[in-house]
């Protein structure tokens, strides 16, 4: 093999540059690698932080909405007492009977009989077929007030009304199918809308009409709600 002395001499003369060349290449590769890693890490951290902020912003909006209601003299704690009466945490027949009695007394439409409708009754709704007597005015009064005035939320999904039948209050019996509700757990459902005028009117109607039924069997028992530090915890999982 032919040895080129001139080349070797030049390499010896420029050895420091050769070392610097390899170091430059090594460090540039290292910097590029480090730069890419940092971008990935920052983006990951930023994404996690942004999710946290988004979740916290939602909670903040919720609190601001609650504060807004407070400023408009809507006492959420008080409304909750009415709502808990209308839709109790657990179903109890005592409150259903109380609600029917309240309605009878208030409207004059006498409920003389009620039967549990097992077909439409489940863990969260109770369906009752009721028979009542009353003249046209008391029946209309019942139809006007049944939803909140008893102290329990009542719905009726269909009404057949025959005014002419109401002429004789003693002999005319009316059958109605009433549905009562108890609370359903909805941990994922977070409402972030505003309370509009219709909602406000509905709240005022509830406050003015509802007669709170206290749980006589367990008057000190507070209705328990599952509380979480992060309301979106389950949704994110």
């Amino acid at each position: 093999m032919k040895i080129n002395y001139f080349f070797i001499k030049q390499v010896q003369k420029n050895s420091s540059f050769l070392v610097l060349f390899f170091l430059d290449i090594l460090f540039i590769i290292l910097i590029i690698f480090f730069y890419i890693q940092q971008i990935k890490q920052f983006n990951k951290q930023k994404s996690i932080l942004k999710d946290k902020i988004e979740s916290s912003e939602k909670r903040k909006s919720l609190i601001e909405l609650a504060n807004n209601l407070k400023n408009r003299d809507i006492d959420v704690e008080l409304i909750n007492q009415y709502l808990n009466s209308l839709i109790p945490n657990n179903e109890n027949f005592f409150s259903i009977i109380t609600a029917l009695e309240n309605l009878s007394q208030e409207t004059g439409f006498m409920i003389i009989n009620y039967n549990l409708d097992f077909i439409d009754t489940n863990s969260k709704t109770v369906s009752l077929k009721i028979t009542g007597i009353g003249d046209m005015d008391t029946f209309l009064e019942f139809l006007k007030n049944y939803r909140f005035n008893g102290g329990r939320l009542i719905t009726i999904n269909k009404i057949d009304y025959y005014p002419e039948d109401q002429t004789n209050s003693l002999t005319n019996e009316k059958n109605l199918y009433l549905t009562f509700y108890s609370q359903q757990k909805q941990p994922n459902k977070i409402f972030l809308g505003t309370i509009n005028d219709n909602d406000k009117k509905l709240i005022l109607e509830i406050l003015s009409k509802t007669k709170i039924i206290k749980n006589e069997l367990n008057p000190n028992k507070e209705i328990e709600f599952e509380s979480r530090e992060d309301p979106f915890q389950i949704a994110n999982e």
């Binding site: 951290q45 916290s56 959420v76 839709i87 009404i159 057949d160 009304y161 219709n198």
Partner: protein
């Protein structure tokens, strides 16, 4: 004896060639060193900027957490309210809410010059309605049919059609006759149903 010849000019040319190559190599090394510093400074600026951005976000999150912590009881109350109120509204959608619709139809009938009598009124939770009106003479019925086609009456309904028309006499000897009109249709939802 054969003497070895050395071409000094040719060797010198080779030497100069290698020297030129290494001069070029030196320039490349300077360039790479410059590039290294540019990369280093850029990445340091990048890290500093990103760190600043992260600090801003961390501070924002901390402020939000403090706000939430300070308002925790209010938030819990509102969550309960939210849950109950949305369930209440959902359940109310299953209700026929008869009375305001009865009033609506009753008031609409009163506007006509000779209001008929409501014989029957059936409403379901979807606001589908079926009602029968009774008239004591034919003229009133025709007047009412004119009224029914007006916007003031129809404005309350999504759709409405005349289902049947019947004439009923109390007895053969009795001259009093009642005329009945049956309608089927669907009410427009009242914005606020009280």
């Amino acid at each position: 004896m054969k003497t070895k010849k050395i071409n000094l000019l040719s060797q010198h040319r080779n030497y100069l060639l290698y020297q030129n190559y290494f001069l070029m190599f030196k320039k490349i090394v300077y360039l790479l060193t410059g590039l290294f510093f540019v990369f280093l400074i850029t990445s340091l600026i990048f890290i500093a900027t990103k760190k600043k951005q992260m600090d801003v976000l961390i501070q924002k999150e901390q402020n939000l957490q403090t706000f939430i912590k300070n308002n925790f009881p209010l938030e819990e109350n509102f969550k309960n309210f939210n849950n109950l109120f949305s369930q209440l509204k959902e359940n109310l959608n299953k209700d026929v809410n008869f009375y305001p619709y009865y009033n609506l139809i009753n008031d609409s009938l009163k506007i006509s010059t000779n209001p008929p009598v409501i014989e029957s009124l059936k409403i379901d939770q979807n606001k589908k309605v079926n009602f029968t009106l009774s008239f004591n003479n034919m003229t009133h019925l025709i007047e009412f049919l004119d009224y029914v086609e007006k916007e003031t009456f129809l404005t309350n309904f999504i759709n409405l059609k005349l289902e049947s028309f019947s004439v009923e006499s109390q007895s053969l000897l009795n001259t009093s006759t009642s005329y009945k009109l049956s309608f089927v249709g669907q009410f427009k939802k009242i914005n606020y149903e009280n």
